[in-house]
Symmetry: C2
Subunit: 134 residues, 2 copies
DNA sequence: ACCTGTGTATTAGAAGTATAATACACTAAT
DNA sequence: ATTAGTGTATTATACTTCTAATACACAGGT
């Protein structure tokens, strides 16, 4: 038995953002920044529930949505782990279609703010590098 | 009396996206693509309500939120028009802070999809050019 | 003054969302 | 078979959000 649990999640009950969504976001960030490697198991819903003093179902909701998204994988009797492989059926084109709506938001917002396109590109480039190196 | 009204808005009642939000998004796009020039008046809330078979209050909600955002301007007795000037008090730094959360979404999503950063940059560049030229 | 045109404050009700209590199905190890 | 560990289906409830009905204030033209 290795001492697994450490820090994990931190929720802000005042922020108005639903608890299950905060968990989802934090899992995604932990994975994107490689703090949670592929194949690693996440804390159980009851562990989270105790830590955060919430109901296990709330944690379960976060997990099952992440599973539906293809981020996590459920192993019977053991729990949720970070999915090993990328989704198999996902072509490059499908991936692009998933990200285009968000990019369009960026475009509309930057027009609205009259931000120079080059400035926006520059900012995104910088953010992409940051997150990649952590 | 010029024949003002034409097409304007199109709502999808099945999409789950609230009507007032669909109106907001479409107004922003119409402005970003210069189909609605600065100073132009928008259709009245009752016009929209009749066209879309909704309640005037729903259109009003869209308009007043757009006004609060600084996109539209209210003229007593005449209606809503596209704001002439950019918001005066907005510094570059404030503008950047508004767009960073959206850019972070892009970063997280692209990590999740394992999209190459260059590919993402390329897509955004292309979208920014498209919308700028229309 | 009147009528018709703006947008909206208020109120109400329907619909949806977030959280939780409980009970269940399943796995692994004893 | 039992025990202790996974996640979850179901149900209930509080809460928020969305839409609408009504009535109002103001502007402009007659």
């Amino acid at each position: 038995m290795e001492s697994k649990a450490k820090y994990y999640f931190q929720i802000a009950t005042t922020s108005g953002v639903p608890i299950y969504r905060q968990i989802i976001d934090q899992v995604k960030i932990l994975i994107a920044t490689k703090k949670l490697p592929k194949g690693e198991f996440l804390p159980s819903v009851r562990q989270i529930a105790t830590e955060l003093e919430i109901n296990p179902m709330t944690a379960s909701k976060a997990y099952s949505l992440l599973e539906k998204e293809g981020v996590l994988e459920f192993v019977r009797g053991q729990g949720m782990k970070v999915r090993e492989s990328d989704l198999p059926g996902e072509s490059l084109e499908q991936k692009e279609n998933e990200i285009i709506p968000i990019l369009n938001e960026v475009v509309t917002k930057s027009k609205q703010l009259s931000l120079r396109p080059n400035k926006v590109i520059e900012m995104l480039t910088s953010l992409l590098k940051e997150k990649g190196n952590e």
